[in-house]
Symmetry: C2
Subunit: 499 residues, 2 copies
Amino acid sequence: MSIQGFDPRTGAATGAPVAETTVAEVDAIAARAAAALGRWARTPAAVRAAALEGIAAAIDAESTELAALADRETALGLPRLTGEIKRTTSQLRLFADVLREGSYLEATLDAADASSVPPRPELRRMLQSIGPVAVFAASNFPFAFSVAGGDTASALAGGSSVVVKAHEAHPQTSRATAAIVARALAAAGAPAGTFDIVYGVAAGAQLVRHPAIKAAGFTGSTHGGRALFDLANARPDPIPFYGELGSVNPVLILPHAAAERAKEIARGFAASLTLGTGQFCTNPGLVFAPATLVDELAAAVRQASGGAMLTRRMRDQYLAGTQALAAAAEAVATGAESDAAFGATPHLFRVDLQTFAGDIERFAEECFGPAALVVAYRDPQDAIALLGRLPGSLTASVHAAPADAAEAMQAADVLRGIAGRVVYNAWPTGVAVAWGMQHGGPWPATTNPLHTSVGATAIRRWLVPVTFQDWPDALLPDELKDANPLRIPRRRNGVPGAG
Amino acid sequence: MSIQGFDPRTGAATGAPVAETTVAEVDAIAARAAAALGRWARTPAAVRAAALEGIAAAIDAESTELAALADRETALGLPRLTGEIKRTTSQLRLFADVLREGSYLEATLDAADASSVPPRPELRRMLQSIGPVAVFAASNFPFAFSVAGGDTASALAGGSSVVVKAHEAHPQTSRATAAIVARALAAAGAPAGTFDIVYGVAAGAQLVRHPAIKAAGFTGSTHGGRALFDLANARPDPIPFYGELGSVNPVLILPHAAAERAKEIARGFAASLTLGTGQFCTNPGLVFAPATLVDELAAAVRQASGGAMLTRRMRDQYLAGTQALAAAAEAVATGAESDAAFGATPHLFRVDLQTFAGDIERFAEECFGPAALVVAYRDPQDAIALLGRLPGSLTASVHAAPADAAEAMQAADVLRGIAGRVVYNAWPTGVAVAWGMQHGGPWPATTNPLHTSVGATAIRRWLVPVTFQDWPDALLPDELKDANPLRIPRRRNGVPGAG
């Protein structure tokens, strides 16, 4: 069997097919990843940082070719793809910064204290690689959440070897990116096996069950993610599985904001909804708005354009999702159709708050693509009272004017319990790569709400603590030696930054 | 049905039976925990810290009565139990310190930066409570890993409401401790429902599946922990389950240490092995030693005394475990029998390295109680080569003389991959409560190797991140306000400690 890419604009095959990785090949790749682990994990962080920068530079150098290749397989357009490549390489560089800064190690030194109960020996703790990591690439970001995306960058940064399972929607882009990553790592002196790639659903399932793999990251559908999550947990030795699954990303538009900025809000909403043909994990799919704003939102969606979805299957699922919404809610706007083979049309549906409250599970299901449901309210308190019952999301947004401040604060206090990122007067699409980013949330947004897949702390998913008790200084890892030869931030006897 | 405590010394019932919690009661308790969450989570950290100290003071005040009660149910002895109570209350006080210090919040502020790719809005990130937590108490530490133990202390500290599932081995101790905790929390102004307790295996299973419960902690057997772990993951909305399960805690005794300190090592080993009748998660159950040291180890075990185990069932499982070892290995020493009803006798078994290597899974299975297997080696390199194949453990220890330094370092480099704490020239029993402690490890030591159940960072298990994007300062939580009114350590624009 092989993986064939398709041009979403024409529906025709594009590029050569890529062979599915066989069982024996997956075995060999996983074994090489395990063999590489020790050397890569013990490679000084500064050298790993340089290797990440080497990957970034190599990708930047081939940006034009990569964007063109990805555009044929995804139809996301050259401007977006070129920007996404920049985002991907700045993400690699962020993790190089994280490695050089050093606090990701959480190095902690406690002197012995015989007066403690129980007596305290000398304890020196740090984080280290969890082991080889499997990364399941996403369809909708062929660079930033794919072969050299955030999961790969953060896992490599943390000293893990990485095996990527390529997404079926962009096999040639995956293959080209993987070749660049492998070359750059080899040039930086990383051991063979530090990075590899497999193709095919069966190879992915084998990977997540493979004894050599110690953790997995995933970005994709709730259905696919749940299946892999279950495999990871059913192992004789379960492993952490970090899945970013479905998210409906609720938006609350408060009355004064709606009254003062109706057109601006409606335009912003339609732009966010249809960005990348709605194929963002953070797409605003559920809007609570004053009943009086619905016409304005509908008008904006009517002026929005459809586009190509990434695969025929995703388009078909989008059609099924919009049909389900049409059966349950009122269709209030339809955007311009797309003439792409895998084309999708923007849709806005409307339901009143009481109806929504009666079947939240049904109405708040993610419909991946440029469709949203607006829940029309009379009293914002009715909407706020419902927010805590929504499923977990990556984001939740509030649009407020100064006169809405009390309700905005009230809403934020609820929304922080159901979403990883709470946005004020902005739209959730667009996820900055930064120290303070949180891209995660309660189920079904992710399989594990403690973590983020974007931003500096994404590295924490691939790190496990180890404490050295009473070891002679000369035998300790450099990170924990008394003189702090690596000059990293450390906590000493409870005091942070004490070196 | 009810839970009856038994005196391990006599086998007779002790104390009144405690009724199992009914399905309806568990439902009501979980609902109250959910209702309390918001207020407790938003209670200022300084007030939560004072509440933890209030619990500690209340427990200390009843230490004599609690120790006497627990001694009747566990036979662990008054000195040990009195010490364990002190450890439990100093653990509560450590988390009060952690709350006041504030870096557990991981507060992070990033200014907006339009030049980033993608553009960066203003981002402010912190950790907050995951929601109501279920705590499954352990049998072997009726205070430190039970009702008011580390899981409860760290979860309450993090702003979670807590429902404890009491262990069947000490129902009256559990009930008495729970009453103290509830009273102290009420006195500190915590909302009703912040803390409660349930009794019975069925109540525990209901709890881990209850929609109101958002995470669970467990200390106990691999069998029981795996069953609850599977329930947690099979939920429609899986929740993090932190189980501390079985651990064989390998010890490597290197040749020069064995030659120079044979008697001291043997005495230390026997004392650690039989401490608390071997009922420690960190009990040294597997020793790699030069063949020449085996006689000395055996002599020390022969002089050691047996004691009472906590329950008849645990004693029976210990007997089954030692019989399995006797069938596979050579019995080289037996300690003094105990006349307790649930008595267990120390045992030492011996196997040569080649035999061990042929069936590691069988030989390296935990036998909970005062029994160990010594693997006799000729060349330390043969032993070191095997260490990486051992199952995950909470601890691994190396005994070395200065002339063993090279091998010790080599062993440590392997052992840090299979154990959470690597000990030098000391015994693993005794787990200090400190910033730098790690009490965790790869499966089967725990269900999640990223975390610890002892020490300051145990709080991280109950915390999830949230990022506020572009919020006006006045509407932000105090932890993230620009002026840093709580004066907590924060990272600003990537710089730690920048306030």
